[in-house]
């Protein structure tokens, strides 16, 4: 890895239109009240998929603890652009922890410090003034780097395409209240369905396994009455798709659960394993004999 040092990115937030927030000219955040902090960033830069890539260091100053981590990167990027340099590419969209786009490994932990948060929900108050912060992209064969900190997670879409749905064409549904679902069951399905597909589980797993992602989807659909017709097929097809995409196997270390921003439980993986065994047994001819009266 070639470590080039790019110091001197002083992050001057100098433009005259900053400082005043939204809400009219009357609004003015008193800059003296704001705690100023600075950090050194060690960032993975890679121009494109075929590029070798390496770490580059940046000094980011005049930050405040109330900034989000991504706002800090925005500030760094604006300075880079003012100097005519190319900004650090990273994915983010909703900036409120639900779209699943943001995806940085911060100091060795996907989504950085804090439990149950995405990268965009990490704040600078989690870091000490003067800290050196290492930022890397998700690393997995199935998530190739596109540029800098952006990776291609379309493998997840293809896994969903293999079976992550109920095959109900529009218009063919029965009345919504025709199948009763207990509160507990709906809650359980929701707990699994809360997955945002960010891929942190893969990023942290030493085997780069996508089991937690697949398990969450299978659990969500397989426990609901509407999901029963495709239960077996879905389980087998999604697991096969996962293997085909080049994700590793689960060796039950549960790191995935610890970094999951939605705190999806590894219990779902046990469920998935159970569903898989069940599907294998049922499809191997050992199904119960149904006699018609």
């Amino acid at each position: 890895m070639s470590d080039r040092t790019h110091v001197g990115c002083g992050c001057q937030r100098g433009a005259s239109h900053e400082g005043a927030g939204h809400g009219g000219a009357a609004v003015h955040v008193d800059e003296r009240r704001v705690n100023v902090m600075s950090v050194r960033l060690r960032v993975w830069r890679q121009k494109h998929a075929g590029d070798k890539g390496g770490f580059v260091e940046y000094d980011a100053g005049r930050l405040t603890p109330d900034m989000s981590f991504l706002e800090m990167l925005d500030v760094v990027n604006e300075d880079l652009q003012r100097d005519g340099d190319e900004p650090i590419a990273f994915d983010s969209d909703c900036r409120e922890g639900i779209c699943g786009a943001c995806s940085l490994v911060i100091d060795g932990v996907p989504h950085g410090p804090g439990q149950g948060v995405t990268t965009c929900q990490v704040y600078m108050r989690n870091f000490s003034d003067g800290a050196t912060i290492t930022i890397e992209p998700w690393r997995a064969q199935a998530f190739p780097v596109v540029r800098d900190l952006i990776v291609d997670r379309s493998a997840f879409d293809r896994i969903i395409g293999a079976g992550g749905y109920n095959s109900t064409n529009t218009g063919s549904a029965t009345d919504a209240n025709s199948a009763l679902i207990s509160q507990a069951q709906a809650e359980e399905a929701f707990d699994a369905a809360a997955c945002i597909g960010c891929g942190a589980c893969v990023a942290t797993c030493k085997n780069a396994s996508a089991m937690l992602f697949v398990a969450a989807k299978v659990k969500h659909l397989n426990i609901l009455p509407q999901g029963q017709p495709e239960r077996r097929q879905r389980t087998v097809a999604m697991l096969k798709a996962m293997d085909d995409e080049g994700f590793g196997h689960c060796t039950n270390e549960y790191e995935c659960e610890a970094v999951c921003p939605k705190e999806i439980s590894v219990e779902h993986i046990a469920f998935l394993n159970r569903e898989y065994l069940r599907a294998q047994v049922l499809s191997s001819g050992m199904r119960p004999v149904i006699t018609e009266a």
Partner: protein, 637 residues
């Protein structure tokens, strides 16, 4: 020129049925001969793509995100309305229709809104079949809650993540069709031009955001499902990537832009903290069910909230609107907050915030029940502000959230350009001048699942199209134009960043075309927008090249379009010399400070035709006729 919305005849309740019967059908075997382009994969786009592919059409689906599942619909929190009347509390299709028309301050088309209310019930059925884990009652039936401005419980919800769950349902259906080969998916692709051949929309030009490659795509019809333009204000609750580019590019090719001045300012957002801020975060409106909004009675009261006794507090929503109290519609609540802050009674470091207080609710129901209801929202608030809302009241302030305006469409959701359909937030059709809570998800899915499959068929069956391919001059020219614009942005090589310009534009719009507007302020803003736009093209800096993944370039293109769009928005706000819904002209208010409509002169849709950048667009009007509801002054007292 007067515009025709092509509303079908007959009694209101029968219009959609009759129309569906009158529409021509495409033979099932022939559907596979037609290609449909769908831009955007939010609720409207994903539901349309899945449904049209199920019917047999060949679909090409485009999104700028890395996955269709990340479209901004995913962030919708509160819920989705439907006239199921499962609660037996007096709801009906007609009541949902009525509430929506009234909530929109009588600036929406009756027939569209009625159809929306009719289809609402089918949406819930469809979503439940897909496995959407809606909240349930103990008996296993679906639960409902009442939501901003409604007096019946008709909102279906999945914790505070309804949009996510609905979108995952639609996305699953979409991915099923991708897997089946009926949908070709183009993620990380941005539409940069609409291609119009002989007056008919026939395709688009896109840029592959990974490689920078320009591509042309031909189709029999183009569906824009690209969301709203709230990010014109820079700070909004929209995702960072949300933009007006697809709509604006279509507008430049001839599609009319309707009611661009109608923007929704959501009352319960986390206030701005500093100049570095990238976006604002919405707190679900459901908080207003238990939280009480107040400010100190006296201006400049600097005491901590706990030290302000009851007698020195002004629960202004409860005081001004005794029957709706804290549950008044969004526009009313937002404006009231602004007034309180304008009077110097705002709280927090910036003075632009009001309290949302749960102390009474916690005393009444206990902290555990409040935690159960709003735990995730309270946690989110604490993560962002580093303050514990169980102990001290939240501080909230309105923020741009949704845009009711959009490309003009007729009853078939087709724009004035044949072959160009616009769905979801991107069109203007169903919410009038103000959208009610939990109605956006309903409209996106209604358009995609249940309207477009019929009206698109009617168009395709009734419109003979010539066979063309991407070597047609219209495509070649459009590609050249799109490339030229990118090259021009890179060539400026100025000093200021794209975000810097965007921030300046946003602040200007917020101050003069936000919660309250005046003729003088708008005129001044119009001037200023032009200056900012000129400076942008003289002094913006965009690094990198076009032939690579270049996020600065992507943003520059979008902000360039916002710069042009902003002018049209201000023109519209100036031309609409009345107050209605989210559009509040200070010149037109009642003595109590409420919006005063002018139905005699402004009961119309304003649809603007592009005449050139910096030129005043041409106004076309579609008269709004109300045959079923009486126009009254909205009152929530």
């Amino acid at each position: 020129m007067a515009l025709d919305g092509h509303t079908p005849g007959g009694p209101l309740a029968e219009k959609w049925d009759r129309h569906r019967f009158d529409l021509k059908l495409v033979n099932p075997a022939n559907k596979r001969k037609h290609t449909v382009i769908i831009v955007g994969t939010g609720l409207a786009g994903a539901s349309a793509a899945a449904t049209l592919a199920e019917l047999g059409y060949n679909v090409k689906s485009f999104c700028i995100q890395d996955s269709p599942r990340r479209a901004h619909s995913i962030a919708a929190q509160g819920g989705i309305n439907a006239a199921k009347n499962y609660q037996n509390d007096g709801d009906s299709v007609y009541r949902l229709f009525y509430d929506t028309i009234k909530g929109g301050d009588y600036r929406a088309r009756e027939a569209n809104v009625y159809r929306l209310a009719q289809e609402s019930v089918n949406i819930i059925d469809q979503c439940v079949a897909q496995g959407v884990p809606f909240a349930r009652e103990y008996g296993g039936t679906l639960a409902n809650r009442s939501f901003g401005g409604a007096q019946v419980s008709r909102t279906f919800y999945a914790r505070g993540q309804t949009g996510q769950q609905l979108l995952l349902g639609a996305y699953g259906s979409l991915m099923r069709q991708v897997h089946a080969g009926k949908v070709e998916l183009y993620a990380r692709h941005e539409m940069l031009e609409l291609v119009v051949v002989e007056g008919v929309a026939r395709g688009i030009v896109t840029r592959d955001l990974t490689t920078g490659k320009m591509e042309s795509h031909v189709a029999d019809a183009v569906l824009l499902c690209t969301g709203g333009y709230g990010n014109a204000f820079f700070l909004s609750t929209n995702a960072k990537g949300s933009n007006v580019t697809a709509s604006w590019r279509a507008h430049r090719r001839g599609a009319y832009f309707a009611n661009p001045c109608y923007t929704q300012i959501h009352p319960t957002c986390i206030p701005v903290a500093g100049g570095f801020q990238a976006k604002l975060t919405l707190m679900s409106e459901s908080l207003r069910n238990d939280g009480r909004v107040w400010v100190p009675s006296a201006p400049g009261d600097q005491r901590a909230p706990e030290q302000i006794p009851e007698g020195d507090r002004d629960y202004y929503l409860e005081r001004r609107y005794p029957s709706f109290g804290n549950l008044v519609p969004r526009d009313v609540a937002s404006r009231a907050a602004k007034q309180a802050c304008d009077e110097g009674r705002g709280v927090g470091a910036t003075g632009r915030a009001v309290y949302l207080d749960f102390a009474d609710a916690i005393r009444r129901d206990g902290e555990s029940l409040i935690r159960q209801k709003y735990g995730n929202l309270f946690q989110m608030y604490e993560e962002i502000t580093n303050e514990n809302p169980y102990k001290s009241p939240m501080r909230i302030y309105p923020a741009v959230h949704y845009t009711m305006g959009g490309l003009w469409v007729d009853y078939n959701l087709m724009s004035n350009l044949p072959g160009l359909f616009v769905l979801g937030e991107a069109n203007f059709s169903d919410h009038g001048a103000n959208r009610l809570g939990a109605s956006a998800l309903m409209q996106g899915l209604s358009d995609g699942y249940f309207v477009i499959p019929y009206t698109l068929g009617g168009y395709i069956a009734g419109t003979p199209l010539t066979d063309i391919n991407t070597s047609h001059p219209a495509f070649v020219d459009a590609e050249k134009e799109a490339q030229g614009r990118l090259d021009a942005l890179l060539a400026v090589q100025g000093k200021r960043t794209v975000d810097d310009f965007h921030r300046e534009l946003g602040l200007l719009l917020w101050d003069h075309c936000g919660m309250a507007r005046t003729g003088a302020g708008l005129t001044q803003a119009l001037e200023r927008v032009r200056e900012i736009r000129q400076q942008f093209w003289q002094n913006v800096t965009v690094s990198g090249s076009t032939g690579e993944l270049n996020q600065a370039l992507e943003r520059a293109g979008r902000v360039a379009d916002f710069m042009e769009f902003a002018e049209t928005m201000i023109h519209d706000a100036l031309a609409r010399d009345e107050s209605c819904g989210g559009h509040f002209r200070e010149e037109h208010q009642t003595e109590e400070g409420e919006a005063r409509r002018d139905d005699e002169n402004f009961a119309h849709v304003s649809a603007w035709e592009f005449t050139g950048p910096g030129e005043k667009p041409t106004l076309h009007k579609e008269a709004l006729e109300f045959q079923n509801v009486a126009l009254t002054q909205r009152s929530y007292k």
